[in-house]
C-alpha cells in the first residue's frame, strides 16, 4: 500500500477533526475528552512515522489540494525535512498531551481543542509548499498559542502574553509585507515555482527581491528567537504552564524551519547572482544569539528560565550552523535539532515536578489564582490518580533530571553530546580550511555547554539536595510517563544515532540541491477525477 500522496494531508486533517470533536464533548465527560486528545495526538505520531518511512524510501511526495496543479493551487509537500519535523511534533506533543492529563488540562476552558489546533498549525506549516499558506498556518498556530499561553491565567502569564502577542502581530505584519513585495516581483507564491523562476529575475528587480526576502526573514527570525528579536521568549515560556511550554519548544523550530526551507530553496547555488544572499547575517545572528543564550543560562536561577534559555541557545546554534552554508553542518544541525527539541521539551515538563521535591512532597497547587469552577471538583475526579505515589519517585525524578541535564548541556554519553560532536567535527572539517566563524562557533558551543552544566547542576543541588528530597514527591502516572517518553526517545536516538545521522545527511544534501524538490512539485499532475474538469469549463458563448 502506498501512503503518498494521499496520507500527506492526514497530519493536518486529523487534529482539525479532533479539535471539532473535542468541542462537542461536554464538560461532564472529562475522561472521554482526555482519552480522545491523547489517542489522537499519539495517532498523529504514528502517521508521521509511517510517512517518514515512506518518504525515506520513495522520495518527495506532493499532495495537490483540491486537485489543482502546482503554481496555481496550494500543494502540501512531504520531503525528508518536513516529515522529520512531523515526527518531532508527534513525539513532543504526545508527551505534552500525556502530561496535561495530570491536571493542567482542567485549569481552564478549551485546553484540548486549542492543543489540537496548535498541532494543525505546526503540521501544516511544516508540510505546506505555498508561501501564503505558510502564513495562514503560522496564524493558526499562533492564534492557538495565544490561548494556550494564557491557559491557567494569572498576572505573570497575562503580562508576558500581552508582549508575546504584540510582538507576534508585528511579525505577522512584516510577513505580509514581505509576501506582497515578493508577489509583486515574482508573480507567484508557490515555493517551488519561486525557486524555479528566481534565476530569471531581471537585474533591476533584484534589489526589491532581496528586500522582500530580508523582510520575510526578519519575520521568521522573530519566531526563531534570534537576538535582538528574542526578548519576548524567556518571560513567555517561563510563565506559561508546563505542557504548553513543552509544545512551544516546537514553535521556535518553526521559525528555523521556515528560514532553512526558504533560504536553501530560493538562494541555492542555482540562484545565480542571489546565491546565498544574507548568509552572513544568519551566521552573525546565530552566533550572537548563542552568546546571549549562554550568558542567560549562567545568569538564571529558576529552572523554567534555564529551560527557556536553553531554547535560545539551540536556536542560535541552529541558525549559526545554517549561516555557514555547508551541507555537513546542516546535517549535524538537523541531528542537533532533534535532540535539542526533545531535551528542552523534557526539561520544561520536569520543571514543576522537580519543584515538588522542595515543598514537602505535596503536589503543588497549579497556580495561586487558579480557582476551579463550581462544577469543577478536582479532588473527587483525581482521587484514583493522586494517591498513587511512586515509591521510587525521588530516584526517578533525580535520574530523569540528570539525563535531561546531560542532554541539554551536551555531555556524554547521551545524544546531546553526539550532536555537539557532529557539529564541531563538521565545523572544523570544512574542505576549504577552517573559517574564523567556525572557531567562534566552536568556542561558543563549548562555552554554552559549560554554562548549561553549571546552571543545571546548581538547580539540581538546590532542588534535590539542599531543600528537599527527604520526602517523596507525588508523581502522577501521566506526568512520569510523559517525561520518560521524551527521555527514552532521546535514549533511542543515542543508540540508533547512526541511521538518524545518515537520514539527516541525506536531508541536508537534498536541501542544498533543491532541483528534485522543485521538479517533483511542478511536475505533479492533477489526477483525473470522477468528473473530468475539462467538461466543466464550457467555452465562452
Amino acid at each position: 500500500m502506498t501512503l503518498l500522496p494521499g496520507w500527506i494531508i492526514v497530519p493536518v486533517v486529523l487534529p482539525l477533526v479532533t479539535a471539532a470533536l473535542l468541542m462537542l464533548v461536554g464538560n461532564a465527560q472529562r475522561r472521554l475528552r482526555s482519552l480522545i486528545n491523547v489517542v489522537a495526538t499519539a495517532a498523529g505520531l504514528v502517521v508521521a512515522v509511517l510517512l517518514l518511512r515512506e518518504v525515506d524510501s520513495t522520495g518527495v511526495g506532493v499532495y495537490l489540494a483540491s486537485n489543482w496543479q502546482a503554481p496555481f493551487g496550494i500543494v502540501l509537500v512531504a520531503d525528508r525535512l518536513s516529515v522529520l519535523m512531523l515526527v518531532l511534533v508527534g513525539l513532543v506533543s504526545t508527551g505534552a498531551a500525556l502530561y496535561a492529563e495530570a491536571g493542567w488540562s482542567r485549569a481552564g476552558a478549551y485546553f484540548h481543542p486549542l492543543f489540537q489546533l496548535q498541532l494543525v498549525g505546526l503540521n501544516g506549516a511544516f508540510l505546506t509548499g505555498d508561501l501564503f499558506n505558510l502564513f495562514v498556518f503560522f496564524e493558526v498556530l499562533l492564534a492557538a498559542s495565544y490561548g494556550l499561553q494564557l491557559h491557567g491565567s494569572g498576572w505573570l502569564r497575562v503580562r508576558s502574553g500581552l508582549h508575546y502577542i504584540a510582538v507576534n502581530l508585528l511579525a505577522s505584519s512584516l510577513f505580509l509585507i514581505g509576501l506582497a513585495v515578493l508577489y509583486g516581483v515574482m508573480g507567484t507564491l508557490s515555493m517551488a515555482d519561486l525557486a524555479d523562476k528566481l534565476p530569471l529575475v531581471p537585474e533591476r528587480d533584484r534589489g526589491l527581491l532581496h528586500a522582500s526576502a530580508a523582510v520575510l526573514a526578519v519575520a521568521f527570525l522573530i519566531k526563531a528567537a534570534i537576538w535582538p528579536l528574542n526578548a519576548w521568549l524567556v518571560p513567555a515560556y517561563s510563565a506559561t504552564n508546563a505542557p504548553v511550554a513543552a509544545l512551544f519548544v516546537l514553535m521556535t523550530k518553526v521559525g528555523f524551519y521556515a528560514v532553512l526551507r526558504l533560504w536553501t530553496l530560493l538562494f541555492s547555488a542555482e540562484a545565480a547572482a542571489s546565491a546565498h544572499f544574507g548568509g552572513g547575517v544568519l551566521l552573525a545572528g546565530g552566533l550572537l544569539t548563542l552568546a546571549f543564550g549562554a550568558v542567560g543560562l549562567l545568569a538564571s536561577i529558576r529552572l523554567e528560565r534555564i529551560a527557556a534559555f536553553s531554547v535560545v541557545v539551540s536556536s542560535g546554534t541552529l541558525m549559526a550552523a545554517l549561516g555557514m552554508n555547508s551541507t555537513a553542518l546542516v546535517a549535524a544541525a538537523l541531528f542537533y535539532l532533534v535532540t535539542a527539541t526533545l531535551s528542552a521539551g523534557a526539561l520544561f515538563l520536569m520543571v514543576e515536578l522537580v519543584k515538588r521535591t522542595s515543598v514537602g512532597g505535596r503536589a503543588q497547587r497549579l497556580a495561586p489564582d487558579t480557582s476551579p469552577e463550581e462544577d469543577d471538583n478536582l479532588d473527587d475526579q483525581q482521587l484514583p490518580l493522586v494517591g498513587r505515589a511512586f515509591p521510587v519517585s525521588v530516584a526517578l525524578l533525580g535520574l530523569a533530571f540528570i539525563a535531561c541535564a546531560l542532554l541539554v548541556a551536551g555531555l556524554p554519553p547521551l545524544s546531546g553530546f553526539l550532536a555537539k560532536v557532529a557539529l564541531l567535527s563538521a565545523a572544523v572539517n570544512a574542505e576549504d580550511g577552517i573559517a574564523n566563524a567556525a572557531w567562534i562557533l566552536m568556542a561558543l558551543l563549548l562555552l554554552s555547554g559549560l554554562f548549561g552544566t553549571i546552571a543545571l547542576a546548581r538547580a539540581g543541588i538546590r532542588h534535590f539536595w539542599s531543600k528537599g528530597g527527604h520526602v517523596a514527591p507525588q508523581l502522577r502516572a501521566a506526568e512520569a510517563s510523559a517525561v520518560l517518553l521524551l527521555i527514552l526517545a532521546s535514549g533511542v536516538l543515542t543508540v540508533f544515532a547512526e541511521p538518524v545521522v545518515r537520514y539527516t545527511a541525506a536531508t541536508a544534501i537534498s536541501l542544498h540541491a533543491p532541483r528534485p524538490y522543485i521538479d517533483a512539485v511542478l511536475q505533479a499532475r492533477a489526477r483525473p477525477g470522477a468528473a473530468a474538469p475539462v467538461a466543466a469549463g464550457a467555452p465562452p458563448p
Binding site: 501564503f132 502564513f135 495562514v136 496564524e139 499562533l142 492564534a143 495565544y146 490561548g147 494564557l150 491565567s153 494569572g154 498576572w155 497575562v158 503580562r159 502574553g161 500581552l162 508582549h163 502577542i165 504584540a166 502581530l169 508585528l170 505577522s172 505584519s173 505580509l176 509585507i177 509576501l179 506582497a180 513585495v181 508577489y183 509583486g184 465562452p540 458563448p541
Partner: protein, 114 residues
Amino acid sequence: MEILLALAIGVLAGSGIWLVLRPRTFQVVMGLALLSYAVNLFIFSMGSLVIDKPPLVVPGLPANLEHYSDPMPQSLVLTAIVIGFATTALFLIVLLAARGLSGTDHVDGEQDTP
C-alpha cells in the same frame, strides 16, 4: 493615484509604528490596527492600481493582465483582513484581562511615578 495610495500607506504605517511604541495598551492595539490597514492596502496595491478592469474573465477579452486586474492580491488581502481582524480582537481580550489584573493600562502593568 499611486502617490495618493503610497502616502496613505505611509501615514498609516508611520502612525501605527509610533502608537505601537507607546506605553499604553490601548495605544498599542490602535497601532497594530493601523499597521494592519497599511499592510492590507499595500498587498492590494501589489495587484497594480487600475480602473475599469475586471478581475474575472469576461467572454471575448483575451485572458492576460493587459485586460484584467490581478485577482490574486485581492484574494490574499481578504484572507489577511480576516486573520488580522481575529487576532486584533483576541489581543483586545488580553488587554482587558491585563487591565483587570493589574489595575492599570500600562503595558508592563506598573505605573511610572512622575
